[in-house]
């Protein structure tokens, strides 16, 4: 196996993942409680959504089921960042305490090694919930179910996930430069709550912010236009896969740059 090849990393990741799940399962009470907690979080999120929108037949030309589609879309696209990149949340603590240095001694990619350490299995429930929501709204809207549509859905879900991951990486990496970076990360994560609404319901200022500054409109809105509004797809929607990849790459570079200039703490 060639070192640093994709296969090498997949192999390592699979192994760490299997071990991690095994050890998590062994703490059964912990596992059950957090699963229940996750189910309730999802239900309450959904109920909130339902209360807010059931009274309006449509908002700015978006029907209830279209809104629901967007909601499901954002749930699914947030899953990868929650499952695979959850260790970003401890980055600040590890950098601050100096424990981060332990990741610097292995002959593999630092970013990969750091992120591979934690897999948050709870995110999988959210994935199921999101897929269910998409499937339900899909049939209620009466969208066709063709291989092409499915391909579009998958491509744009991946796009959306990449943007979410990029946002979180960049926010987490701020801890390499500033002390109170928790607020940055927290803020970035809160922004995702706005991702599930069509960006057209916001004022022009926020529309601009959510498109060009904190690009959360790319998490659900622009990608889902391709599926929901096939007649009036803006250029930004077609561009979003490239924007997703570009953002991810930039965030990775920022993260790595922070990590390599990390000077640690004394002793």
């Amino acid at each position: 196996m060639k070192r640093k090849g994709l296969r090498f990393y997949l192999h390592i990741y699979r192994k760490i993942l299997a071990q991690d799940i095994k050890s998590k399962m062994s703490y059964r009470a912990d596992f059950i409680i957090s699963t229940i907690g996750m189910i309730f979080t999802n239900i309450s999120g959904f109920v909130g959504f339902w209360i807010l929108f059931r009274n309006f037949p449509s908002i700015n030309g978006w029907s209830y089921h279209e809104m629901l589609f967007l909601y499901g879309f954002s749930l699914v696209s947030i899953t990868p960042v929650q499952c695979l990149f959850d260790n970003n949340w401890s980055l600040r603590q590890q950098v601050y305490s100096g424990d981060f240095i332990k990741y610097c001694f292995r002959p593999i990619n630092l970013f990969f090694y750091y992120q591979s350490e934690v897999f948050d299995i709870k995110g999988l429930g959210q994935l199921a919930f999101g897929i269910g929501t998409i499937a339900y709204s899909w049939s209620r809207i009466g969208l066709a179910f063709t291989p092409l549509m499915l391909l579009k859905l998958i491509v744009f879900l991946i796009t959306a996930s990449l943007i979410m991951i990029a946002l979180q990486n960049a926010a987490a990496a701020t801890c390499f430069w500033i002390q109170n970076s928790f607020y940055v990360l927290d803020l970035a994560f809160r922004f995702k709550d706005y991702a599930k609404y069509p960006v057209t319901i916001f004022s022009t200022v926020f529309r601009f912010i959510f498109t060009f500054i904190v690009p959360i409109a790319f998490i659900a809105y622009y990608p889902s236009l391709v599926i929901l509004r096939p007649d009036e797809i803006p250029l930004l929607s077609w561009l979003s896969p490239f924007i997703g990849i570009a953002f991810f790459f930039v965030s990775y570079k920022i993260w790595m740059r922070g990590a390599t200039r990390y000077s640690g703490t004394g002793s």
């Binding site: 196996m1 070192r3 192999h11 390592i12 192994k15 760490i16 071990q19 991690d20 050890s23 998590k24 100096g98 424990d99 240095i101 332990k102 610097c104 001694f105 292995r106 002959p107 593999i108 990619n109 350490e117 390599t260 990390y262 000077s263 640690g264 004394g266 002793s267």
Partner: protein
């Protein structure tokens, strides 16, 4: 012959924010930042040969860990040159990592939730250790330490000593050319210290691994190192055999006595009698030690004087210990 580690005129400076006091100070800090430079390592040079065990010593804050971080490629030197295994560590961090093992005492690098054996298997894949190499190493470990009870224990359930032992085993697993051990015996009990010293010694003999060891425990030095390098305030003070260093202090001998009466009070009294010599006491074994410089006064004179003022129950005469040599150097420097 070029050594496996070559360090030439290496300096490392940190820029730290000079914080001003009080609320007003904090506000000022926001607008005009006042940095000061800390020189942690100052023009250090050394050359280390394959297979050596080098004791890298110095008081707290001397710059030992900083030097090690530069040799492992985590930190970039401010100036100077470092070659480890022929490559520049900071520029080739991952490549360098293949050939080294690192242990920072009290900071485990193992997967917290996994049993040790699973960590080892992951390391086997990460370092691409061959099956035969892995098996051979495990067999060697089995013969050196009682590894079986550790293997199936998750790292987080281990005691500090067990964890340190595991970390050291993990650092040697891929048969690296060099292993850096930064205070590996910190916080360990006497028997675990002895175990770890034996292990390091055996692995160095067996695998010809170069070992760079920092420690504040001179027991480690006595057990493992022939060569020591001492730095203080980032500057190199000494680099040579330990015996050579002791010969500087050839005229020093330690007189140890056991006397009647309260240990602390007697120690103080004797110190009062000999203000020029360092007098210490060992509370466990109730020895009072007087470090006598025979150029000034013969040890036997001191003994006979003490006999007049104290009831001496027992006595011993020793050459100067490593501990005392190092202490003198930290306090007075090399003459």
């Amino acid at each position: 012959m070029a050594g496996i580690i070559e360090i030439k005129n290496v300096t490392k400076e940190f820029r730290v924010l000079n914080r001003r006091e009080g609320l007003k100070g904090s506000l000022k800090d926001l607008f005009s930042r006042n940095y000061k430079t800390v020189r942690a390592v100052d023009n250090v040079s050394m050359s280390i040969q394959q297979g050596e065990i080098v004791g890298y010593l110095g008081p707290n804050g001397a710059g030992k860990s900083t030097t090690i971080k530069m040799m492992t490629g985590v930190l970039e030197p401010t100036s100077g040159e470092i070659l480890v295994n022929g490559c520049v560590p900071y520029k080739n961090r991952t490549k360098n990592a293949e050939n080294i093992g690192v242990v920072f005492g009290q900071r485990s690098q193992l997967w917290w939730a996994l049993p040790l054996i699973e960590s080892f298997r992951l390391l086997k894949d990460i370092y691409q250790i061959s099956d035969s190499g892995y098996d051979e190493m495990m067999k060697l470990y089995g013969s050196l330490v009682d590894i079986e009870p550790l293997l199936h224990k998750p790292v987080r359930q281990m005691s500090l000593g067990q964890r340190t032992l595991s970390d050291i085993l993990a650092a040697f697993l891929h048969d690296p050319k060099i292993v850096f051990l930064d205070e590996p015996t910190i916080g360990l009990d006497v028997s675990m210290k002895a175990k770890i010293r034996t292990l390091i010694h055996a692995l160095n003999k067996e695998k010809k691994t170069t070992v760079i060891l920092t420690t504040h425990d001179m027991g480690d030095v006595d057990a493992l190192c022939r060569r020591i390098v001492i730095i203080d305030h980032g500057k190199m003070l000494y680099d040579n055999d330990i015996e050579h260093l002791k010969s500087f202090f050839g005229s020093y001998r330690t007189l140890k006595v056991r006397v009647d009466g309260d240990l602390a009070a007697q120690t103080q009294q004797i110190q009062g009698q000999y203000p020029d010599f360092s007098v210490t006491c060992d509370e466990q074994e109730e020895w009072i030690s007087v470090l006598v410089d025979e150029d000034r006064q013969k040890v036997l004179d001191v003994l006979s004087q003490l006999q007049k003022t104290h009831r001496i129950k027992d006595m011993q005469l020793e050459e100067i210990s490593t501990e005392e040599v190092i202490k003198k150097i930290y306090e007075e420097g090399v003459r």
